[in-house]
Every structure is written in structure tokens, then in C-alpha cells.
């Protein structure tokens, strides 16, 4: 009987590996290989009990087989023969040998080194752009060691960073609770308020499994979002809020807790001991301080006087206005203010006074949500907080506060995001649910170090808070010229100055300034050499026509190329790297990582060649070594590897697996040393494994204490307070920044300066987009819809547009490749399901088929994903719309953190059919 009834052939092997195509990983998988050919992806069930999703990768991993055997791959090095660059210029790529390609790259590096690594504007002559959320680093082998060996690199040309990520959450989250990203303690919480978080789509297998288990356990999740996403679908309640009014909703929740709940319903102990709520604020808006020690003061209810906040045996007052004598204040630019006698309010009192106008009735008008809904959400949040309850985790008694708030993209970036991030963090503080079991948690750090341990990044700083290093704004200390092309250092104090800070700064400014730079600063030159890997800003940024135009100005582009695409269309050299299933790398796994990767283990995992590389594709580590050797960087490169650029230092006090720095090492030798050093580090030398062992076993982990999911114990142990509610430090930085900019006659950042507030107040956030429409020459009435974007799991951040399997399975989901709109709103425009429609903003237009639904606000449309490809094989024939075509790159839509939001006002009209290929 030929019943498709075949036993699994004996010749089939199963190779353990990882998928880290999006920041929600890494997740585990195995590659089934038959006769040297990869045939299928499967979970790695050996990791049951270790990996929170039981060893399962998400749908994207199943596309890796097609990705490997995609006939459109670039499989030989290539060089450009047409010096002219532009979308409509044929690059004239011709195949060349690896020797020719590598020599060309090395020669360019040598030229630059001879000329000077910085150009006449003090900008790095070499720039590099990597794609989503740092994940390319999990595929580029030892390339970070080259970057370290070289030194001055400009990372500021983004592919969407700042405007497509949870940008404000990154900055404020890390500032307030070491939370580069924020999540619910899903495994223990009871109520999650999700403002646009699409965790069921972009949270990865670990989040999906945690939330599914939580639903069965009885958790309630309320989704507040303009359209009914899969996460909304899986929630208990959907609240269709008007776009970009989330801050008003949350400020009203703060109002309910402060002015409608009884004071003793809040977590008073947490507020008094772990926040700055009792700190006294003077009439000028600065903390009142002890004149001798400079410490902030609190009102002691025992002695009935103002005392330093860390005085022993005191009972700080939370509410109230007090008369205090002989105190000081520290203003901007080190101004010292002395008060003989002054009225002081506690920061908590100031917050209460500020939040008084924001009633649910007020917010109802702003958000187009009934006041009763806002009030019941706030009340449920309070009722489920279990204030007073405790739980023992890892032998330590901690507060148990099973309520959490999460924010999604477009809520936590762009205008209004500061208010949302503040309100989310403050609501958690009001019930003591920040960084405790059941509450709102951070996951990892990127602006602070060490990256692998966010708890270790906490150090005592000023005023009883943890230390945060801001870019200097003081007179004589401020960087008056950009050091990278996105100007992160002069403009964004809170982002700091690490390599991640560059990549997180306002990356769209780097592109915009290539076209029109501010007159006060020298117009930046394009970098002499630009490296691009796993990135396609030509379709993934905004105003893609402008991005492409600017990209064409890059004189020498080296792209690590998988297939031809819209960005490497501008390249001079294409280098085919051995991709996911073909090459070797070891990365960290477990602990707490982005999104909801909370493990009870931590260690290392290997990606290994399940199959031989196709064509002449080469392992990234081999490519990097050869570039360094030919460019005269070998010793610096090997030294960087020895120092830890390939994962962990190869030499420490108690071990030495370091590589000889004057020799060329092959791929296996390098990773064998890394494996031994990493396992030595994890086990204090008790269980050192080599590369052969890791290839067989896939991963090596040791227990990770669940207690370390939470920051509170670290804060308690160091006697630190979360820097809430009052933002004296940020207010001061904003005032100083304004002074510095104005001293240099820079006034185009004035709107952003207004965001520096000690406490958020509502401003008409949606108005920014109406004003932008007007400023671009349109009338808001002619663009009556809010256009927002969303994702589906087969495509979320995976660069999967060229993989047919992803397109096939995504078609089962509504709105795939379409313009999603409310059926009633469509009917009024004479639009039927499947009709072609044109979505137009003042700057451009895109076309797609209409998908009509009930689960979308009538004033909102949704355009999913990032498409509109014109070069990527397969993807260019999909003919899908893209919001990136119609969103402007805009200074006025950039907030004070340098971020924007995926949002634009548009018109929608029925048209006859798709755009011609050249017009897409």
C-alpha cells in the first residue's frame, strides 16, 4: 500500500541548533537532515523542562529549509560594475572570487586607516548597520571582534531602530528599572492590562506558551488597542481606543487610584521606602535638600521636621504640604538655591495635584472609550493587586502583586510614549507591583552593563537612586557637535553613549541629515565604507523613497548578501555568508532576556552546520578572519576575541583558553576555545566542555535562580529607591539641554524640549500627526483615517518576505498583505472586500486589497508588515501594500527620546488595481 506510510529513514539525522530570527528568541530546534540535505525543522524536545516553550521554535523556523535552498540566493561574491547608484540603475553585479572580494574590502579599510578613521567632521568613516534588535549578532560569528579591532564605527544608520522598536520603553524602562524591554510576570500574575502589546504574535514561543498556560490558569487580560489583534482575540476583553490616546487612559487610571480609591488601598510601604514619593519638592520644582549633605529631604512624621531621606528610624509622610526651614535646592547647571523658610510638597502630593484633572470622564472624550470602562479597568487593577500578600521565591520573601501593564509599539514610542511609560511604571508603584512576583518586570539591559546580568548593572547613584549615566548637558560638558551621524550625544541625554546608544539614537536623523542637515552643524558626509547585514532599510524605514535616495550616496557598500534586495542593490561588494543552517556560532541562552524569555536555567547554545553551505557561501567567522588578515588587523582581531568579543573572555584569572594573536585560527578552533571558556565560566571550571560535546548536545545550561527575575531584592539590598514619581533629574537635563542648544542658536529641537517634565501632563498627542499632515501640505479632513501597522507571526521581524512557505501559511490570517478596515467604514466609501484601495498620505501612496472586518475602529486602518519590495525575489511579486511608503521621516514627529511611532493620517479610495511595478 503506498499510503504515504513511510518509516523515518535510518539515514536521517537530527542536528540541534537555534533560531534567533527575532528578539523573542533564541529558541531551540533541530534540523532533520537526509543524505546531507536539510528536509525539515522540528522542536528539540530534549529541552523540555529547560526551555519555557518545551524546545519548540515558532513558525518562522520552519521557513529555514526553504531559506537554505532558495534558488535566488547570492552564492558567489560579486562586485558592482555600474558606478551609478539608484533604484533605477542596474548595479551590473558580476561574480568574482573570494580573493578579489576580500582584497577589495581590505584595501578600502587600509585606505581609510591611512587617511584617518574619522573624517573632517570627526565622524567615523566606517559605518555598520545590522537589523532587528541585535539579533544579527547571533549570526555574524566573530564580526564583533572585527568591529572592536577597528574602533571608530558609526552605528547610527538604522533600519527602523527608534521608530519601529519599543524605543521610549527601552530608554525610560532601563532608566527606571533596568528594563530594556518590559513584560508581565505572566506565570504568576492574575491581571494584565495590555495597551497594544501584541505578545501572541511577536512574543515568541516562550511568551505564547506562558500566556496560554496563564489563560488556562484563569488569568484575565484586557487588550486596549484600536484593532482586534490576535492578542486581543485571545484576551478576555477588547477596548477599542482611539490611536495615540493611551496616555490619557493611563493618566485617568492614576487619577482613580489617587483620588477615588482609599489611600490605604495603595501599597504605602512600597511607595515610602522604595520610591521617591516622600521627597520634598520646593516652589521652584527642585527637591529640597539638606544644605550640608545635599541629600533630598522627607517630612518625618515622628519628629515633625524635614530630614534626609535615609535617616534611620523615621516615618516619612506620603501626602502633604509642609513648612520647612533652612534647606537647599540644586537647580540646573549646578545652581545652588538656599531657602530660609519655604512651603514644600511631597513628590506624591505634587503628583496627586497634577493628576487631579485627569478624571475618567475627561479621558473618555479623549480616548473615545466610556468613562465606566476606564474606571472598571482601574478598579480591577487595584482589586487584583493583593497588597499585603507575600510569596517566597528562592528562599526570599517578596511582595506578591499579581497585576501588570504592558505597552506595545506605537504606544511606547513617539509622542505620548513618555507619558505612557511613566504612567505604566507609576501604576505599578502605586500598588507595589514593580519588579516583584506577579507584577511588571524588566527583562534585560543594553544601555547599561553587563548585558548578561541586569541585576549586576544596578549600582548606587545620586539621591538614593540607582546610577544612570546620561549624556552630559552641563555647561562646558555638553557635546556641541554630533559624534555619530544621528546626533544621539548632543540631543538625547537619556540614551547615554554606548554602542547600543548610537544604534538606538534617533536613527532616522542619520538618514535625514544626509539630505538636509541642520545649518548649525556641518553636513555629514556619507561614510566611506558601509557594512550592512540582515538589514533592509530601503523597505523597512519610513519615506522609503527618501531613504533609497540617501542610500545611493554611499560610496562603498559591503553587504553580506542572502539574496538580492532593495538595500544591497546599492552595494559595491556582495559577500555570501553561510546562513542559518550552514554555519557555526555559540551564544548565550536563558536567564532573563528580551520580551518574555524568563528561564530557570542559563547557559550557552550552538548553531552548527547541519548541512554544507550552498555554493560558495562561507562561514561568517571565516570571512571576518580573512578580512582582518588582509587588512592588517589580525592581532587586534585575535586580541578582541581573547577579550570576549566572540561571547566570553578566553582568558581570566582562573583559566586561559586564549588564542595566539599572531596566527590565523580556523572557525572550529575559535569556537572550541569559546565553548571551553564559557562552560568554565558557568561552572567555575568544574565541567568544561569542548565544541564536539556541544555539537552533540546542543546546549549547556546551569540553574538560574527564579529570584533573579525580579529587581526588587537588589534594590532592597542596596537600599535604593525607584526614581518615581518625580523626574527632577530629567527635568534638569531638559533645561540644561535647552540652554546649550539655544546658546548655539539651535531652536529646531524646542518642541522636544517640552517633553522634559517632572511629571507628565496631557498634551494633545494625536495633534502632532494632524499638524504634520498640515505642514506637509495636506488638510486633515482630506486624510480622515489613522493608519497603523501590525504583524503576523510568520513575518514578525524575520526578514521572511522571500520565503514562499511563510506567505502560504500567513494567508490563513485575516489581513495578510491587505488593507484592513472596518466593514461599516468601507461600506460608506463603496469599498467591498477584495477591492483594490489606495492609501494616501501627503507624501506618497500605496495600494492593496481591502480586507473588511468588524474588529477595527471605523476611523482606523491597519496595514500589516513591511512589504513594497521591488528587488527581493519572490517578495517583489507579492504586490502587498506598505505603510512605510506613506509615513514621513519627520523632525516634528520625533519625540525627545529620538523616537517616532508607526502612525500616519491617510485617505482611502477605491482604485482599479495594483500599481505598475515601477511605481511600487
Amino acid at each position: 500500500m503506498s499510503l504515504k506510510q513511510k518509516a523515518v529513514p535510518e539515514a536521517v539525522t537530527s542536528v540541534p541548533s537555534y533560531c534567533y530570527n527575532c528578539v523573542s528568541g533564541p529558541d531551540l530546534m533541530t534540523v532533520r537532515v537526509k543524505d546531507g540535505i536539510a528536509t525539515a525543522i522540528a522542536p528539540n524536545h530534549d529541552a523540555i523542562g529547560i526551555h519555557p516553550a518545551h524546545g519548540r521554535p515558532c513558525v518562522k523556523a520552519y521557513g529555514l529549509v526553504q531559506k537554505t535552498y532558495n534558488p535566488d540566493r547570492v552564492l558567489t561574491p560579486m562586485k558592482r560594475t555600474n558606478p551609478k547608484k539608484g533604484r533605477h540603475e542596474d548595479p551590473g553585479f558580476v561574480a568574482i572570487s573570494w580573493d578579489e572580494a576580500l582584497d577589495a574590502v581590505a584595501a578600502k579599510l587600509k585606505d581609510i586607516e591611512a587617511t584617518g578613521k574619522l573624517d573632517e567632521n570627526s565622524m567615523p568613516r566606517v559605518a555598520a548597520t545590522f537589523g532587528h534588535g541585535g539579533t544579527p549578532a547571533s549570526y555574524m560569528g566573530t564580526f564583533p571582534a572585527f568591529l572592536a579591532a577597528w574602533g571608530a564605527i558609526d552605528f547610527s544608520f538604522g533600519s527602523g531602530q527608534g521608530v519601529k522598536c519599543v524605543h521610549s520603553e527601552h530608554l525610560y524602562g532601563e532608566f527606571w528599572h533596568r528594563a530594556f524591554t518590559v513584560c508581565a510576570d505572566t506565570v504568576q500574575t492574575r491581571l494584565i492590562l495590555s495597551f497594544g502589546t501584541n505578545v501572541e504574535v511577536s512574543g515568541g514561543p516562550c511568551a505564547v506558551r506562558r500566556h496560554a498556560d496563564a489563560r488556562i490558569r484563569g488569568i484575565k487580560r484586557i487588550q486596549i488597542e484600536p484593532h482586534l489583534s490576535p492578542t486581543g482575540a485571545c484576551s478576555a476583553e477588547w477596548v477599542p481606543i482611539r490611536p495615540k490616546t493611551d496616555a490619557a487612559f493611563m493618566l485617568a487610571m492614576v487619577h482613580v487610584l489617587l483620588h477615588e480609591a482609599r489611600r490605604d488601598q495603595l501599597d504605602l510601604a512600597f511607595l515610602k521606602d522604595r520610591t521617591a514619593s516622600p521627597y520634598l519638592v520646593g516652589p521652584d520644582g527642585w527637591y529640597l535638600r539638606d544644605p550640608d549633605s545635599g541629600k533630598p529631604l522627607v517630612w518625618d512624621e515622628v519628629s515633625e521636621r524635614a530630614v534626609p531621606h535615609d535617616s534611620p528610624g523615621i516615618r516619612p509622610a506620603l501626602d502633604g504640604t509642609f513648612e520647612v526651614r533652612n534647606v537647599a535646592a540644586h537647580g540646573p547647571d549646578d545652581e545652588r538655591i538656599a531657602y530660609d523658610h519655604v512651603a514644600a510638597r511631597s513628590a506624591f502630593q505634587v503628583m496627586g495635584d497634577t493628576m487631579r484633572p485627569y478624571t475618567p470622564e475627561w479621558a473618555a472624550e479623549v480616548c473615545d472609550v466610556p468613562a465606566g470602562t476606564i474606571r472598571h479597568v482601574a478598579t480591577e487593577f487595584l482589586d487584583n493587586a493583593c497588597i499585603g500578600e507575600t510569596i517566597v521565591v528562592g528562599g526570599r520573601t517578596l511582595p506578591f502583586r499579581p497585576v501588570a501593564i504592558t505597552l506595545g509599539k506605537t504606544v511606547n514610542n513617539g509622542w505620548g510614549a513618555f507619558e505612557c511609560c511613566w504612567a505604566r511604571t507609576m501604576l505599578a508603584c502605586l500598588v507595589g507591583a514593580l519588579e516583584v512576583p506577579g507584577g511588571t518586570l524588566g527583562t534585560t539591559v543594553r544601555l547599561n552593563r553587563p548585558h548578561e546580568n541586569r541585576l549586576a548593572s544596578v549600582k548606587p547613584g545620586e539621591d538614593g537612586f540607582m546610577a544612570n549615566k546620561l549624556n552630559a548637558t552641563g555647561k562646558g560638558k555638553w557635546a556641541d557637535k554630533p559624534t555619530g551621524r544621528n546626533a544621539h550625544k548632543p540631543l538625547i541625554p537619556i540614551v547615554g553613549d554606548s554602542s547600543w546608544a548610537q544604534a538606538l539614537g534617533p536613527t532616522h536623523l542619520a538618514w535625514m541629515f544626509l539630505k538636509d542637515a541642520p545649518k548649525e552643524w556641518a553636513k555629514p558626509n556619507p561614510p566611506d565604507l558601509w557594512f550592512a547585514f540582515r538589514t533592509n532599510p530601503a523597505i523597512s524605514f519610513w519615506d522609503t523613497d527618501q531613504i533609497i535616495e540617501n542610500m545611493a550616496k554611499m560610496p562603498f557598500v559591503v553587504a553580506f548578501a542572502y539574496t538580492m534586495d532593495e538595500t544591497n542593490h546599492m552595494a559595491d561588494i556582495l559577500l555570501p555568508d553561510a546562513t542559518d543552517l550552514e554555519s557555526t556560532q555559540i551564544i548565550r541562552v536563558g536567564g532573563t532576556k528580551f520580551v518574555e524569555q524568563h528561564w530557570e536555567h542559563a547557559g550557552i547554545i550552538i548553531r552548527q552546520p547541519a548541512v554544507e553551505p550552498q555554493g560558495e557561501a562561507r562561514d561568517f567567522t571565516w570571512i571576518t578572519t580573512e578580512i582582518c588578515r588582509r587588512a592588517g588587523l589580525l592581532e587586534a582581531y585575535n586580541t578582541a576575541i581573547n577579550r570576549g568579543a566572540a561571547l566570553v573572555p578566553l582568558k581570566r584569572e582562573h583559566y586561559d583558553y586564549s588564542l595566539a594573536i599572531d596566527q590565523v585560527h580556523d572557525v572550529e578552533t575559535i569556537w572550541d576555545a569559546v565553548c571551553k571558556a564559557a562552560t568554565h565560566e558557568l561552572t567555575d571550571g568544574a565541567d568544561v566542555k569542548d565544541l564536539a560535546w556541544l555539537k552533540t548536545n546542543g546546549l549547556f545550561v546551569v540553574p538560574f535562580e527564579k529570584k533573579d527575575w525580579y529587581l526588587l531584592p537588589t534594590m532592597e539590598d542596596q537600599g535604593l529607591r525607584f526614581e518615581m514619581p518625580y523626574q527632577e533629574r530629567l527635568l534638569k537635563a531638559g533645561i540644561e539641554l535647552g540652554r546649550r542648544l539655544h546658546e548655539h542658536d539651535i531652536h529646531w529641537w524646542d518642541t522636544q524640549l517640552k517633553e522634559y517634565q517632572a511629571l507628565p501632563t496631557w498634551h494633545d498627542v494625536p495633534h502632532h500627526w494632524l499638524k504634520s499632515t498640515r505642514d506637509l501640505g495636506g488638510h486633515p479632513d482630506d486624510y480622515p483615517f489613522w493608519a497603523v501597522t501590525t504583524k503576523s507571526m510568520p513575518y514578525t521581524t524575520g526578514n521572511n518576505a522571500g520565503i514562499p512557505l511563510m506567505n502560504e501559511v500567513a494567508q490563513n490570517l485575516r489581513g495578510h498583505g491587505s488593507v484592513v478596515m472596518n466593514a461599516g467604514a468601507a461600506k460608506k466609501l463603496g469599498i467591498k472586500a477584495g477591492d483594490w484601495v489606495e492609501v494616501r498620505s501627503p507624501i506618497s501612496f500605496t495600494r492593496g486589497k481591502a480586507a473588511l472586518v468588524q474588529g477595527c475602529r471605523p476611523d482606523t486602518i491597519v496595514v500589516q508588515g513591511q512589504y513594497a519590495h521591488w528587488k527581493t525575489p519572490y517578495a517583489k511579486d507579492l504586490n502587498f501594500p506598505s505603510l512605510n511608503k506613506v509615513i514621513p521621516l519627520s523632525m516634528e514627529l520625533t519625540d525627545a527620546t529620538g523616537s517616532g511611532a508607526d502612525l500616519v493620517r491617510v485617505s482611502v479610495t477605491k482604485v482599479d488595481g495594483p500599481l505598475a511595478e515601477d511605481a511600487r
Binding site: 518509516a7 523515518v8 482586534l228 485571545c234 514562499p804 485575516r814 468588524q854 519572490y874
Partner: protein, 217 residues
């Protein structure tokens, strides 16, 4: 006596399509053939709207209407509940497609590979040409079950012997096992939760149970 069934916990399913992709890759089905497909269903009117994700596929019925109409006897039924198709006997008449109330059967009219020509993986995985001109459907990964049983494994418990969709399901929504084993996961889930089966009123005795606490979507 064994009766293999599938359970889909709709409270867990997020519509990610991982099961669909895992099925396609493991079974080497041609473009457009989805033995396991997750539907995206909306009900209600704005703003009172619900949306639910519904995994579908062959229900491996007790009384398969597809088998009843099959003129060539290609469709058969095993003692363990699995409904089978013998491609050597199938004449591609498609009567079964019309008879199946679950829209679970596929006939490939124009055999296509993802990138046009069959690539190395297409050729190594299976021979899609065997689908040409015949009707196919979910087999409950019959090959994995039988190979697993031969090794003494328990389908539904041991992942090697369990359908690829269940093995891949990231939310834990899909479960598989023996309904006649009172201690199997599927028996326990069905016993302890509200459930429905599709088109039960047609008397097909479907072997696909949907756990759901809000009534049929």
C-alpha cells in the same frame, strides 16, 4: 481497542500557523495543500466583536462520509480510527471532497513547487509528484505513529510518535492520543473541559475535539 483523536484547545490557540508549517514540511505537501490549517474567524459587530482561531483538518470520523462515496475503495479506515487514502487506488474523482463536511481534502490540479522547480529539499523530503492527480488529506502522521509504535513508543506521549502539528504547537493547544485510554492526555482533557465537535449532528463521529468554554464559535 485504540481510538486516536486530536484535541484543539481553542483557549490556547493563537493562530500562529506553526502547526500548518510543521505539517507541510514534515509531510512534504505541495503548495496550497494544508492538511492542518488554522482558520481566523470573527463574530459580532463593532465594537462587540470576538475573534477565534480554529485548527482544522481531517476529523478521522467514526463513519467517514468520504469513505462512503469513494468508488475505488481508496479511502479506508483502520481499527485505530485513522482514515486512510491509498494513492494507488485513488482515481481523483473528488467525490470525497464533496462529501467531506470538514473541507479537509485536497486535490492538486497543477502541481507546483515553492520556487518553481523542485529543489534539493523538495526531492529529499518526499516526492510531491505522488500527490499529482489524487486526493490527499491529513493522515495524523500515520508514518510517525506506526514507526513509533514499532519502537514501543506511545503516540501523543512520545513526540517522535506524535503528529508533527502537535509536536510543533507552541501554545500547547494541539494534543493527540488514544481516546480509549482513560489516562491519556486527550481523555483527561475531554473529561475535564467543555468541548464540541464540528458537524456532530451529521453523525460522522468526528475524532477532532475542540475545548472551548464559550460555546461553539
Amino acid at each position: 481497542m485504540t481510538r486516536y483523536v486530536m484535541v484543539a484547545d481553542l483557549r490556547r490557540c493563537v493562530g500562529c500557523q506553526t502547526c500548518t508549517a510543521a505539517c507541510k514540511e514534515n509531510n512534504g505537501t505541495p503548495v496550497g495543500v494544508q492538511w492542518r490549517r488554522v482558520l481566523d474567524i470573527e463574530a459580532g459587530e463593532y465594537p462587540d466583536v470576538s475573534r477565534v482561531f480554529l485548527p482544522t483538518g481531517c476529523n478521522h470520523c467514526d463513519k467517514p462520509p468520504c469513505m462512503e462515496v469513494c468508488p475505488s475503495t481508496a479511502t479506508g479506515k483502520r481499527a485505530d480510527g485513522l482514515v486512510t487514502i491509498d494513492y494507488d487506488l485513488c482515481i481523483g474523482c473528488s467525490y470525497c471532497i464533496m462529501a467531506c463536511p470538514y473541507d479537509a481534502r485536497f486535490k492538486v490540479e497543477d502541481l507546483a513547487y515553492s520556487y518553481g522547480e523542485a529543489n534539493a529539499a523538495d526531492q529529499a523530503r518526499s516526492n510531491p509528484a505522488e500527490f499529482d492527480g489524487v486526493v490527499s488529506k491529513c493522515t495524523f502522521c500515520i508514518d510517525r505513529i506506526d514507526a513509533g509504535l514499532a519502537k514501543g513508543l506511545v503516540p501523543g506521549r512520545d513526540m517522535e510518535a506524535t503528529p508533527a502539528c502537535v509536536q510543533g504547537c507552541i501554545s500547547g493547544a494541539l494534543r493527540f492520543g488514544d481516546l480509549h485510554d482513560p489516562n491519556s492526555d486527550v481523555s483527561q482533557l475531554i473529561k475535564n473541559n467543555k468541548y464540541f465537535r464540528q458537524h456532530e449532528e451529521e453523525g460522522t463521529g468526528p475524532g477532532f475535539y475542540y475545548l472551548w468554554d464559550k460555546g461553539a464559535p
